[in-house]
């Protein structure tokens, strides 16, 4: 009973429900000739099983121990009934012996039995240790039963040890699998995450891996003992009668054919079940994340409608999978009984012709029972096994997703970066058909502030994403201090860069930990200094737990502005040579903002900074302003130069800042404006 034969995928026939003509649905038997449409998804049950088992390889020695213990346990289980059988014999002998008159010999008893025409009894007596006149030999019985008990205790211990070890093997394997997925996520390009619903990925790591773990745990030991039993029994059958063994074996391909036909159908359903679990999870994740909006926009009904649809799909798939895979066991039982009758018929004929002894046929029939029973057992686990493999497949699919380009083998390690950034004829597009940045060149001198301005969608964020190598340029190159950034390792590059994004992302942890995110090696003083410099300290002091306040997973216990401050503190602490700021200060309240602006100005002083700027002060202070439109730099220069040019920047400036300048000038004219601001 090898996995391979059951699971070998038929490469050609297209088994996909969708490609199969509905009329033919339900036709059993061989593969459809079919119009050779490519299957939607290759059936990879076999390879997936092999791969899953391959995962167990690091546990090799332990696995061998598990197998050894399994063998021992199976042997003991097989011996057990034999020993008990001897106990029965002793009792039987005692009973017979008591009936015989004392003093007669066994031979006499046999002869007497034969004489009275009871040939069978005579044969039996001849094989037994009967002491006529004597009852049950309790001391012999005690010894035998003690042996039996010892065997059972031994078998229990071995089976416990096997279970204990196997548990470790499975759990460690699953641990590695999860770790590998996590590792993989770190090597996947950002595009991958742009396309995948979060809940779907989560489902693979929780639901699917969990399912694999359960299937492995529950099926391995059973599979193992079943396979061992089958092998043992097969050996015994060949020894007793090669002919009948061949007949018994005829049922094997039949079983395999039936099982694989059923499994093929149910496997697809299991794949669908777990895919539907993923898509349901994605919907749940999204609905729960946007819970507030769902409520206020009165979308509960619609969201539940989508849920119902996906839930129904999941129901259909999982019901179908369970039902179809549930057919395997009864089918195997039928084949087993068919086999039984066949052996009985042929055995009967051979006994009649004297070619075989009755005892041998009887033994053989026993063995053939023992032979089909484990097969049925394996079949009864088909649902667990298939479901587990379907989940494993989804995990492997994730592990096989194309990764971002590997870091160079011999990376250039940037030393004391000065922060000169140069774009050389860079082109980039997110979608191949939709050009975004085309042939862009620019130079940012060390210590300079580069303000990027322009309408939304002009490619400002993309520009800084390229510096961080979140995405790879399609053409041209970007250099840092003359070194192509693709020649460095990503982490070496990024550790030179500090970033504050529009999206304030904090993790569930204390405020201190969140600030320290920028530099895990920072001391308490450095953290506090960063917090003070970015005015985090002020609001943290008002919190009852101070820096130990735990930010919950949604970050709902600090306001958006406070979160923004925390992300600034985080970047501040990182102390990078290159800064990327993306409208970072926009939702900090304006009194705080002034102070943050100052701190940022100080932070920027020695560093090259790319600022996606909306603040006039930032823009005016910048050494270089890049005016972007539709992925191109349409103008570049200083504030004064660009104003003098009376081009796009001038128009933007007039539209955006004129009013603000006038309004501000008015209020600045009031005497109170000179007073210290913002601090209370």
């Amino acid at each position: 009973m090898s996995d391979r034969s059951v699971t070998k995928p038929a490469p050609m026939p297209t088994m996909t429900e969708r490609t199969r003509p509905p009329v033919r649905r339900g036709f059993g038997g061989g593969p459809w000739g079919g119009p050779g449409l490519p299957a939607e998804k290759p059936m990879s049950f076999g390879p997936s099983v092999r791969r899953l088992l391959g995962r167990l390889r690091p546990e090799g020695p332990k696995l061998l121990a598990v197998i050894a213990l399994g063998v021992t346990s199976v042997v003991l289980v097989v011996i057990g009934p034999k020993v008990l059988g001897r106990a029965t014999d002793i009792i039987f002998s005692g009973v017979i012996g008591k009936q015989l008159p004392p003093g007669t010999s066994t031979a006499q008893a046999v002869a007497a039995a034969r004489g009275s025409g009871k040939g069978n009894v005579a044969d039996m007596l001849a094989r037994m240790h009967v002491v006529p006149g004597q009852g049950i030999d309790f001391s012999a019985l005690r010894t035998v039963l003690a042996w039996a008990l010892a065997l059972y205790v031994g078998s229990a211990i071995f089976s416990w040890m096997q279970g204990y070890l196997l548990n470790g093997v499975v759990q460690r394997t699953i641990f590695r699998l999860r770790a590998e997925v996590e590792d993989k996520l770190n090597r996947l390009p950002l595009q991958f995450f742009d396309q995948q619903p979060r809940g779907e990925l989560l489902s693979r790591v929780t639901n699917d891996i969990d399912n694999v773990s359960q299937s492995l745990q529950q099926t391995i030991s059973q599979l193992l003992s079943s396979v061992l039993t089958v092998i043992g029994v097969l050996v015994m059958m060949v020894v007793v009668s090669p002919l009948l063994a061949v007949i018994a074996l005829v049922t094997v391909p039949l079983s395999i054919l039936v099982a694989s036909q059923v499994a093929k159908r149910s496997q697809k359903l299991f794949v669908a079940q777990w895919a539907n679990t993923g898509s349901l999870n994605a919907h749940i994740e999204e609905a729960f994340t946007g819970h507030e909006l769902v409520t206020v926009f009165g979308r509960r009904r619609e969201v539940e409608q989508v849920f119902r649809e996906r839930n129904d799909q999941l129901f259909e798939a999982s019901f179908g999978a369970q039902f179809v895979s549930g057919i395997i066991m009864p089918a195997m039982m039928f084949i087993g009984n068919l086999n039984y009758v066949a052996i009985a018929v042929i055995g009967g004929v051979r006994v009649a012709t004297g070619a075989m002894s009755l005892g041998d046929v009887q033994a053989f029939i026993q063995y053939s029972r023992q032979f089909t029973q484990p097969l049925t057992q394996v079949a009864s686990m088909a649902n667990l096994l298939q479901s587990g493999v379907a989940s494993a497949e989804r995990v492997f699919e994730l592990l096989d997703a194309p990764e971002q380009d590997a870091d160079p083998v011999q990376p250039v390690i940037p030393v004391a970066s000065r922060g000169r950034v140069e774009f050389e004829r860079v082109s980039f597009r997110y979608h191949p058909e939709q050009p975004l940045i085309e042939d862009l060149s620019l130079v940012a001198e060390p210590g300079h502030t580069v303000a990027i301005v322009g309408p939304t969608g002009a490619g400002k964020t993309t520009l800084v994403n390229l510096i961080l190598r979140f995405y790879e340029v399609d053409a041209g190159r970007i250099t840092l201090d003359g070194v192509d950034i693709t020649a460095m390792r990503r982490e070496d590059l990024r550790s030179q860069i500090g970033m504050v994004l529009q999206d304030t992302w904090l993790f569930g942890g204390t405020i201190r930990d969140n600030i320290a995110y920028g530099n895990p090696a920072a001391s308490e003083e450095e953290i506090l200094a960063a917090a003070r410099a970015t005015f985090v300290d002020r609001f943290v002091q008002s919190l009852p737990d101070g820096y130990d306040t735990v930010i919950d997973e949604e970050g709902s216990n600090v306001s958006a502005g406070e979160k923004q401050l925390l992300t600034i503190a985080r970047a501040f602490l990182a102390d990078p040579s290159l800064l990327i700021l993306d409208e970072a200060t926009s939702s900090v309240d304006t009194r705080t903002e002034l102070l943050v602006q100052r701190a940022m100005a100080a932070l920027r002083s020695d560093r090259t900074s790319f600022v996606i700027a909306h603040r006039l002060s930032t823009i005016r202070d910048a050494e270089l302003i890049l005016m972007m439109e539709a992925g191109r730099i349409v103008e570049r220069g200083t504030h004064e130069e660009l104003l003098a040019a009376r081009g796009a920047y001038f128009r933007l400036y007039s539209a955006q800042f004129r009013g603000a300048v006038d309004a501000a000038d008015e209020s600045a004219a009031q005497p109170a404006a000179a007073a210290p601001v913002g601090l209370r």
Binding site: A87, Q195, S203, S213, F323, E593, A664
Partner: protein, 577 residues
């Protein structure tokens, strides 16, 4: 909890379950009958070389097998259907319950845990039901059958069963009860994995920018190791069950032989009865083994059921009124009366003694430093929370008495974090008003200053939006979120710091375009920039959860020092720096 959950959600499918029991009964009887046919074939057929008998009995045997197979296939059909329907219904019940939660309950459980409960936990319980229907039902039938047959053989040995069965139950019970806490911990660890991973996925740019992949991997590894440790502990206990059961049952058969031998010797028992007793004991053994296989699943399933029950039992703190007021006004006068809000257990309220009125057609702006309670105030109006004291009134009716659907249908909320759903631009815009025509969408986009960039997107209204709106910039997201509220054409607009990511010019144009749109509506704008709110009809200055100023821009410049301070700081921040 497990039983209650099963009872409640399996009840509709009792007929199916009944069919399963009946079919399993029939199937079990058939399988109990088969061994005697087997014996007949050997004794009367094979032994005598009677091929005809073998064939006829064999045919009969195959006939019985067919019955057995039909029964078990039908049982699987009904069983799997009932179990999967059960799972489907429980999932739907959880999802529905969570849908009715207020923001507070969602935060209390945490979204990751709610997600696990909605899928993984249900999966565990459902698995138990599946296996119960396909395997467990047969076990007691076989067990009872075996016991009856055994008792019929000899009552003198039945005391052995009175010993071994309680011992068996007690030892399984002992192990299982120790597994329960492990499994409870295990589900919590799965929550942790979900939480860590979800955080990593949402913060992936920050993680990469700060080169913290290693640390994140470590954080994940910790959660992973914790889960593995718990799973190992649970698994070790689980590994005990099977050998224990086997040992007890095998020891019982040894005992049967020992004590049986005595009875046989004394002539109290026939030897045939003894072997038969043993056979039935084996049958009982088999069934208990099957039941044990299930018992392994019960601890985890019951923990999962508890966690599901926790969700289902939790009632939303925002309770819909028993007799909701359904009056419809076209104008919505908003009034807040002595509002107080504090988190449970908190000593200082987030909001305190807030009273103001916002008339239809008027714009009320709320300004104040970070953490002043502005967002909470907006949430109270939208009844995402309930006030701890005081009343929010719309047209003189407390929001607690309004039909929630009606209340929400009158509100257009633009939250501080503009979250977009995966789908298209159009599907997001139609979020609050599925009937809106394309023209209406374009109109809203026009007002929200989003028309230009949507027109430039491939597919325009049908352009794809990723979950959370991560494929558009923050400013674009904010404008789409505003457009979404506009499409709804509500009577009350709540803009929670919704212009923060916009540049001043866009902000100005947007507000100018908004004015005619919201001419008859009550508009509440939470803002940071004075320029955004200066032209509001009334401005409320919040500080530390209290109103420290209320009036127009000019009035407040005169009367409210906090407001003046804000204005001056902004003036200084902008051009004078």
């Amino acid at each position: 909890m497990l039983i209650r959950l099963l009872r409640k959600y399996l009840r509709p499918y009792w007929s199916g379950l009944l069919a399963v029991v009946a079919l399993q009964l029939l199937g079990t009887i058939a399988s109990l009958y088969l061994p005697s046919l087997n014996a007949d074939i050997i004794d009367k057929g094979v032994a005598k070389g009677d091929t005809g008998y073998i064939l006829s009995t064999g045919a009969w045997m195959l006939g019985v097998t067919v019955v057995q197979i039909v029964c078990s296939i039908a049982a699987v059909y009904f069983g799997a259907r009932a179990a999967m329907r059960f799972g489907r219904d429980v999932r739907a019940a959880i999802f529905h319950t969570v849908g009715g939660f207020s923001a507070r309950e969602v935060a209390q459980f945490g979204a990751p845990s709610l997600i696990t409960r909605n899928t993984n936990d249900v999966q565990q319980v459902q698995m138990l039901v599946v296996l119960s229907c396909t395997m467990l039902v047969a076990a007691p039938i076989m067990c009872v059958g075996g016991i009856i047959m055994a008792l019929r053989q000899d009552a003198g040995l039945s005391w052995l069963m009175l010993v071994s069965i309680p011992v068996l139950i007690a030892s399984i019970g002992l192990i299982v009860s120790r597994m329960v806490p492990q499994f409870r911990a295990m589900q919590a660890r799965i929550d942790d994995i979900n939480r860590v991973l979800r955080e990593q996925l949402s913060g992936i740019r920050v993680v990469r920018a700060f080169v913290r992949e290693q640390d994140e991997a470590r954080r994940f590894a910790e959660a992973n190791a914790a889960l593995t440790r718990t799973a190992l502990r649970a698994g070790r206990l689980m590994a005990l069950i099977f050998p224990t059961v086997m040992l007890i049952l095998n020891a019982s058969s040894v005992a049967v032989l020992w004590f049986g031998a005595g009875r046989v010797e004394n002539g109290q028992m026939q030897i045939g009865a003894l072997t038969a007793f043993l056979t039935y004991l084996t049958l009982i053994l088999m069934s208990v083994m099957m039941a044990t296989f299930m018992a392994i699943m019960i601890p985890r399933a019951s923990v999962c059921a508890e966690r599901i029950g926790e969700v289902l039992r939790t009632e939303s703190t925002v309770v819909p009124p028993r007799r909701p007021v359904r009056q419809v006004h076209t104008r919505a006068e908003l009034e807040l009366r002595n509002i107080e809000f504090r988190y449970p257990g908190a000593t200082t309220p987030v909001l305190c003694d807030i009273s103001f009125q916002a008339a239809a057609g008027q714009t009320t702006a709320i300004i104040g430093s970070t953490g002043a309670g502005k967002t909470t105030l907006v949430s109270l109006v939208a009844r995402l929370f309930d006030t701890t004291a005081g009343t929010v009134l719309i047209d003189g009716v407390s929001v607690r008495e309004l039909d929630p659907d009606l209340l929400w249908s009158r509100i257009g909320l633009v939250p501080q974090r503009p979250y977009l759903f995966s789908g298209t631009v159009a599907s997001n815009l139609r979020y609050g008003n599925p009937q809106a025509s394309d023209e209406e969408l374009w109109e809203a986009l026009q007002v929200a200053q989003a028309r230009d960039f949507v027109e430039a997107m491939p597919g325009r209204l049908e352009a794809a939006i990723t979950q959370g709106g991560t494929n558009v910039s923050g400013g674009q997201r904010q404008r789409l979120s505003i457009a979404r509220a506009l499409v709804r054409k509500p009577e009350i607009y709540l803009f929670d710091d919704s212009f923060s990511a916009l540049d001043l010019a866009t902000d100005g144009r947007l507000r100018a375009a908004l004015r005619p749109q919201t001419a008859n509506a009550t508009v509440v704008i939470v803002g940071q920039r004075v320029s955004t709110i200066a032209d509001a009809d009334q401005i409320i200055v919040l500080e530390g959860g209290r109103i420290v100023g209320l009036g127009s821009h000019e009035e407040l410049l005169e009367s409210c020092p906090t407001y003046l301070e804000i204005v001056q700081s902004q003036a200084a921040a902008e051009p004078a720096a």
